[in-house]
Amino acid sequence: MLAVRDGELDALGALFERHHRPLFGFLVKFTGDRTAAEDIVQTVFQRMLKYRHTYRTDGSFTAWMYHLARHGAADHFRRANTAPYPTDPADLHEHPDDRPHAAQSATTHDDHALLHAALARLERKDREVLLLSRFQELSFAEIAAILECSVGAAKVRAHRAMQQLRHVYVQLERRELT
């Protein structure tokens, strides 16, 4: 990003290739809207390009990127004012998962559907911190920078979100069995 700031715009292409897919994955799980997620990813990189001269060397690029993404998502929720998740988890599987272990995973489609439903029922702030900590594999220091809170608070929020997910998942599982 420093190279982009100093005029080497092609370097943003490398950043895009490295980060756009995890960022999209976060946003589509967070907003439940593929189209909105793509729009927000495009806006994030557009903002990076337009305001590249404001990038500071003392910050983490990843934290900055997710910070921009959070604002984009917040704007999406404010404008859409709809339920923040699709009603059909199958909408999230339009494109195949090309991870090598995906085909060998023992988890059933029903388990994934339950998990998607459980994620949808979390409060937005819990879902956000859970996605950042569990899917994006960010350190607590980075999560704290993104959420603008202390490292300790980020840990507490992440663990509370995990417990809440488990609680909701169990409730959904029992409802299915009864």
């Binding site: 793509e38 495009q42 992440a158 488990r166």
Partner: protein
């Protein structure tokens, strides 16, 4: 330690970052983890719950990672190419005198005063023109009479106004057809790459800025209008759109545009934003900074 206290620590125990080297538990956390593990070793119920919790988190980790459409990459690199275009204009004070004392053009009048009722006005005027041409109230007297000539000139001018409005209204209606945002974005970015865009392209970009539901498309349209900021109709359209824009990112970009263009006609709109309690803090600050530049 009882079962509930032990289960309250499960999330921490299962998070590799709090049990690994990144954040080493200190003080009370070490003791709490040790007590929880000791409880687990002797409590079959908690062992089952711990295993189930672990399984849930493992399943969460195997959720498929959705892939974006190919259009995302295509749009990004189109945007990057547009930004790298050497014709990007730097707007300086010397190019834009501060006093815009020239009389507003017809286009400026349309954007500043007519756009909120654009569709209704266009339809009304269109109906008037069609009615006059199909059922003339005055029997055609031939082009040689002064009254007929004057009437024809008025009708021609009105038709030209309707043609302009009609273009904008039709574009607006096109937006309502919910074309994919990627398609609309691609059109805007393609327009931005034209070296000599005509009036129709400029109008389309202005319409995108005013009417497109996607903030991403609106931002791209604004960027594409930068090289044409010397046109009064472009600056007037940005001021008009700023008044109804809700997205803080787009608002700030519009304010930056007007500040760079040094458009004093934008001062009332910026003063309104800078004094508005409902405006986003960043937007309010951007408006105040812009006002100091005039």
């Amino acid at each position: 330690m009882n079962c509930q206290n032990a289960r309250d620590t499960f999330a921490e125990l299962l998070d590799r970052r709090t049990t690994g080297t990144e954040v080493a538990p200190v003080g009370g956390h070490i003791a709490a983890h040790a007590e929880a593990r000791a409880h687990l070793a002797n409590c079959p119920d908690c062992q089952r719950e711990f295993a189930a919790f672990r399984a849930t988190l493992d399943a969460l980790d195997t959720l498929p990672i959705p892939a974006p459409s190919p259009a995302l990459r295509e749009n990004f690199f189109t945007m990057l190419a547009a930004e790298k275009r050497p014709a990007a204009v730097e707007l300086t004070r010397s190019d834009h005198p501060g006093n815009r004392s020239a009389a507003p053009t017809l286009g400026v009048r349309i954007w500043r005063w007519a756009w909120p009722a654009l569709a209704g006005c266009a339809l009304g005027v269109l109906g008037f023109v069609l009615g006059r041409t199909s059922h003339p109230l005055v029997a055609p007297a031939g082009p040689s009479t002064p009254d007929a000539l004057a009437m024809q000139q008025q009708i021609t001018q009105l038709q030209q106004q309707v043609a302009k409005m009609g273009t904008l209204v039709s574009y607006s209606l096109l937006q309502q057809q919910q074309r994919p945002a990627n398609d609309r974005l691609r059109l805007v970015l393609t327009s931005a790459m034209l070296e000599h865009p005509g009036d129709k392209v400029i109008n389309d970009l202005i319409s995108s800025l005013a009417f497109d539901p996607s903030p991403n498309v609106r931002l791209s349209a604004l960027d594409a209008l930068y090289p044409h900021a010397e046109q009064e109709v472009v600056r007037a359209s940005v001021v008009a759109s700023l008044g109804r824009e809700q997205n803080p990112l787009v608002q700030m970009s519009m304010i930056d545009f007007l500040a760079a263009a040094n458009d004093v006609e934008a001062k009332p709109a910026l003063e309104k934003i800078s004094a508005s309690a409902n405006a986003d803090d960043n937007v309010r600050n951007a408006a105040r900074r812009a006002l100091t530049q005039f």
